[in-house]
């Protein structure tokens, strides 16, 4: 049964690229804080990762601030943590910035600080990593709570968001290692595992979408799927394997890390801005005007 497109799914415009940047910056930033905290026992410096992680999360939240209609009332965002994942995300951001900020300052060597401060880096960074993980989970739940957008409310998207954030964090760590020194020994195998996990989560998510979401949303994600797999999964995996045997392992590892980050951002950008088709309208029954009607029962879903 066909129908005109009045009431058909449409690409929502309420959240645009600024919202996408929040998920990109927040995911990569929290992933980096997690990776950096895990790398502390191996002697990897926290300062650059902490600073970059905070900057990325702050950048993402700033983008949201630019998107809201009443930016000078932004503090109202804290009012509804009982049910709103956006409130929870904002509430977590405060201690996250504080803990990661203090750990970052304590780890730097430009300003002389008491030795006791340096001893705080590991516990503070660990706490910041835990908060970062919770922040990332909130971001995933923000999308799931968006009932008006079928591609977002699909539960498996949560895993894509979380695994992508962790993968981006590992990628940034590999990239930063080019400048600050070798990453821990576990970084390469863990990154390979995260790439496999992200590719799997992405494919499972796409598998779950069809036929639950409007066809244009499926098509939008299908268009980027192969390039993301090639440039964001296969290429970095290959480079990471090369880095295990190459004479200058930091170079292929850094390029792999960059590809991991770019692919994650690309993927999230597409989900937020290209696949965000609304559900549209549907009526399960046609109105019966006169008993002789033969088309009384029909499931009408314009554009679907």
């Amino acid at each position: 049964m066909t129908a005109t497109l009045d009431g058909a799914p449409r690409l929502q415009r309420s959240w645009d690229s600024r919202a996408a940047w929040n998920f990109i910056g927040g995911g990569a930033g929290t992933g980096l804080l997690l990776a950096a905290a895990a790398a502390l026992p191996a002697g990897w410096p926290y300062f650059p990762a902490g600073a970059l992680g905070i900057a990325l999360i702050g950048f993402g939240l700033s983008m949201v601030w630019l998107e809201i209609g009443r930016p000078f009332r932004a503090l109202n965002v804290f009012f509804h943590p009982q049910t709103s994942w956006m409130s929870r995300e904002a509430l977590l951001a405060l201690p996250l910035f504080a803990l990661a900020g203090i750990a970052t300052l304590a780890d730097q060597s430009f300003v002389p600080l008491p030795l006791q401060m340096r001893l705080l880096v590991t516990p503070l960074a660990s706490a910041a990593a835990a908060l970062g993980l919770a922040f990332l989970y909130c971001q995933a739940r923000i999308l799931k709570a968006s009932h008006g957008v079928p591609a977002w409310r699909e539960p498996s998207l949560q895993w894509v968001i979380i695994v992508t954030g962790i993968t981006e964090g590992l990628g940034l760590m590999l990239f930063l290692s080019f400048f600050v020194g070798s990453p821990p020994a576990w970084a390469i195998p863990t990154s390979l595992a995260s790439l496999i996990a992200r590719a799997g989560a992405w494919e499972y998510y796409r598998h779950r979408l069809n036929p639950r979401v409007p066809a244009p949303a499926v098509a939008a994600l299908s268009r980027i799927s192969l390039p993301v797999h090639l440039l964001g999964h296969a290429l970095p995996a290959l480079l990471l394997l090369v880095s295990l045997v190459a004479p200058m392992p930091l170079v292929p590892a850094a390029v792999a890390g960059l590809a991991m980050v770019v692919a994650g951002a690309w993927l999230k950008f597409a989900v937020v801005t290209r696949a965000a088709f609304t559900q549209g309208f549907s009526i399960p029954f046609m109105p019966v005007r006169g008993r002789a009607s033969t088309a009384a029962a029909a499931d009408v879903r314009p554009g679907q």
Binding site: R10, S14, A90, P287
Partner: protein
Amino acid sequence: MRLGASEQTAMTRYVMVADLRRCIGCQTCTAACKQANATPPGVQWRRVLDLEVGEYPAVRRVFVPTGCQHCADPPCEWVCPTTATRRRPDGIVEILYDLCIGCSACAVACPYEARYKVEKQEFAFGDEPTADEELRADDSRIGVATKCTFCADIVDAGVAHGLTPGEHPDATPACVNLCISGALAFGDIDNPQSKVSKLLRENKHFRMHEEQGTNPGFYYLWDEDLCHDRDP
């Protein structure tokens, strides 16, 4: 004895009923809503979808009034980070404009595309407001989420004067008052004697996107319930 507003809402859930057999797609409800609520261009708190179903020669048209469904479990309320969106005891989902930050989380949470946000004041005929627009321009609705309120101000004023919403025009949403085909009805579904309760008893009906668990307060009639024992 006249009931006070709070007493009247203690066991009340206001809902709207749209008879799809009666709706002729004239958009009078849309115009009435725009006039009553002074919504800017492009904002239609009450929309009527015009669906053309089937293929020639078996083509049918159906008109579907939509808007905020005033859900009993509104996803817009859950996601709102400011508590600006809240459900009143009488079932009307309202937005407190002074709290709203315009984050649009509610807009993407609503399965009914019922929410709007405008960034600046716009007028129907260019830069200059009409006399009515000038009189009724409301800066508090700029940069925040807006939607159908079931004309809560009219309902509240009517209830305060002892009128029954859905029966008395002074206590009834504008779209229902002006519907020329009698397709729209409004009232308290918890009152078995209300018009909406009778309509729902006597007709087959559905609600849109019920699978989302929103428990919408907007019912669509599509056929007579021939098995129903009519009220005397």
